[in-house]
Amino acid sequence: MIAYLGRRVIQSVLILLGVSLITFALLYLLPADPVRQIAGRSATPETVESIRRQLGLDQPFFIQYWHYLTSLLSGDLGRSYIQRSEVTELIVSRLPASLLLMVGAILCELAIGLTMGLLAAVRRGTATDQTLMVASFVGVSAPQFVVGLLLLYVFAVRLGWFPIGGYGTWRHLVLPSLTMGILGAGWYARMMRSSMIDVLCQDYMRTARAKGLARGAIIFRHALPNAILPVIAMIGIDIGIFMGGIVVVESVFGWPGIGQLAWQAIQRVDIPIIMGVTLVSAFAIVLGNLLADTVAPFIDPRIKLR
């Protein structure tokens, strides 16, 4: 177990290094010039050059990357070009909002998705099953900005149940979480259904029935832990999709998280922020997968971490 975790941590560090190199290279190759953004249109070529030197952007690629990497190792993500403040501070101040949204979204996903999948599997082949599967298909295929705007229109504008945007109370959390969660819920519903149908056909389910157990015990004690295993692995992967989603959803709902920060930074080619947000997202994905893999043996004793 310890050896396994040790190896996984080393792997994770390598993955993060790779991510930083690739992102850095992509931003370097980008035709947009950050110095032009900082200096403004009216700046003289001399001013532009001096800013470029000041930021070290006149150096060759690998020197730039090396500087970035060495300061990264001491916990410094650099300064924002535009906002004139430390990237670490900007991200730390916005991270709680994004984490809150992530927790809300994952809860929505699991609550809606797993319930739908479970119900569809148990009622397999009936009208309930078909309705739920059509619904999940809609959830999977609807773009998030459309879902977000639709929810805003119905529940905030027409019904007035929830605020239109912003951050602060649990009411603010509901619509963005739901918007993010509906996409995942569709996936989870489909996955849970097929996983559950698979489990329901297993020999040990027949044994459970032959023992005279109640239906609830059969489904929740015998089927669910077996069916949920592939879904747990999915949650790890899901954090990646989530990180892509927050950029859109935080913008639609004016949610002050790192997604919004990233969106603003991308528009202005604020390289240190883009790098910072990417690395934090990559870290979240790596951590999520590690957690999912570590939790699995507690549910299935056959899985041994080696």
Partner: protein, 605 residues
Amino acid sequence: MSKGAGNTRTGAAGPAASITAGAVLEISGLTVSVRGEDGERPVVSDLSLTLARGETLCIAGESGSGKSMTALAIMQLLPQPAARISSGKIRLRDMDRGDIDLAGLDERRMRRIRGDRIAMIFQEPMTSLNPVLSIGRQLVESIEAHTDLSRAEARRRAIEALKAVRISEAESRLKQFPHELSGGMRQRVMIAMALALKPDVLIADEPTTALDVTVQGEVLELLRDLQREHGTSIILITHDMGVVAEMADRVVIMRHGRMVEEGKAADIFARPQADYTRELLAAVPRIGTGAGRRSSVEAEMPGSVAVVHDLHVHFDLRGGFFGQVNRRVHAVEGISFSIAPHETLALVGESGCGKSTTAKALAGLVPYHGDIVIGGRNLAGLGRDQRKAVRRDVQMIFQDPYASLDPRMRVGDLVAEPLLIHGIASKEERSQLVAALFERVGLSADQMELYPHEFSGGQRQRICIARALALRPKLIIADESVSALDVSVQARVLDLLKELQREFAIAYLFISHDMAVVENISDRVAVMYLGQIVEMGTRDQVFSNPRHPYTKRLIEAVPVPDPAKRRPRFARLDQEIPSPTRKIGEDPPKLALKDLGNGHLVAVS
């Protein structure tokens, strides 16, 4: 759940007319039907039988006879929603409330019967226990489902139940998970679970089919002992007439969903009335019938088809921080044998003894150490192309005829494929060759255009044989090739194999766990245990004069299909077969074989 059936009958859930005195369970006019693409068809038709208190009733028959469906119908566990009880009564004796008709019982009441009054164990102990719940949890929950006992008391009962099925250290076993136990142990846990509440009826559906023969003996004896203690009535469903002879008081023979014959076990075996019963009994392989059969090889002929010398197959297991190799499975540990032309060498042993791995090494499917010489050429020294050419002489037939044919290919193409791979013959010639092969294995040439699912198990195995024959090999490896077939089909496939041997002068390496089949087909026999050969000799030497204790055990463990020769008691194994997995550097002790004369080799320790 199967209310549809219940609604059509009157007084379905109420007390039924009283059943025969002394009977626990009485089935009358039971018809079970399954809805398929072409409407509903019966899988059990008009079945009537009674089960007396404390008796063992065997329901025997081949696949598709409806024996398992009958069991599931009694438990109301028929696959939903396709199958249902369309008519008939299943009455269970109930002292307090009058007799109950199970066929019309609603799910809630049926739940109280299941596990408490009627318990069931299944064929596959490997998959019948929930992998994510501990043994203790699974035992305790079935006790709690039917009693008001506290958790601690239920646990105590669970420990008692485990002790009753002779599981040692019962208390610490409760914490174990199914994957930590062997197949035999899992089946004992299933039996403990089934008998913990002392049910009136135990339905055992092929309880020993998936187990090794020595373990089968132990499990059958355990069932007999527990029955004596508790007076449980047992319905034992099996295809194995040896098991029937060993266990049954009365026998019901079924075919195509109908009862063909019913009677006392002794009568059925001694004076079968129905033709089908006679055929079934005639097809059962028996130890002793092979003796005296003309041996096709007189002595070791020069020019062996295959010689295996000091063969080792190891599988490395990785672990530790850097994933280095720290343990090793010694699957095959230095075995040597040779196979002469025309000869059938049988490799016998229980699961995990390395017999299939040996076959795979011979067919080039796993890496090995040692020498494999085929047709005089040592594979180790050959290049890729030469090895491919030599491999033509060795073909394989597998156990599962369903899984070993690609479902998307026409069977004619499947048989032609080896010819295609080795670039033999033009297209027309190939199809002529394949047609001839089809005729030869007892199929017709017009069947070449069909797909595998359109054939029965026996026919599919014939297709596999035709495929193996296509390259005119010198050696065919048959790995448990008849184990999955019904006895009557098995007998015909074995006959075909013998005919082909005479006709094409093929040698067989015949791998099997079934001692009776081995005795029927083999010229020489090698017994494997933990990756090594413990005894080897001609069929008569090994079967008439077994010298190694393990060989004796294997032969003794085979149930004899004759109730008159029922074994008194079966010697139990004190411990399980040890694991072939060892730490690196800890090599297993090498057995030395001693010649007792005329090539009869026995391991001395």
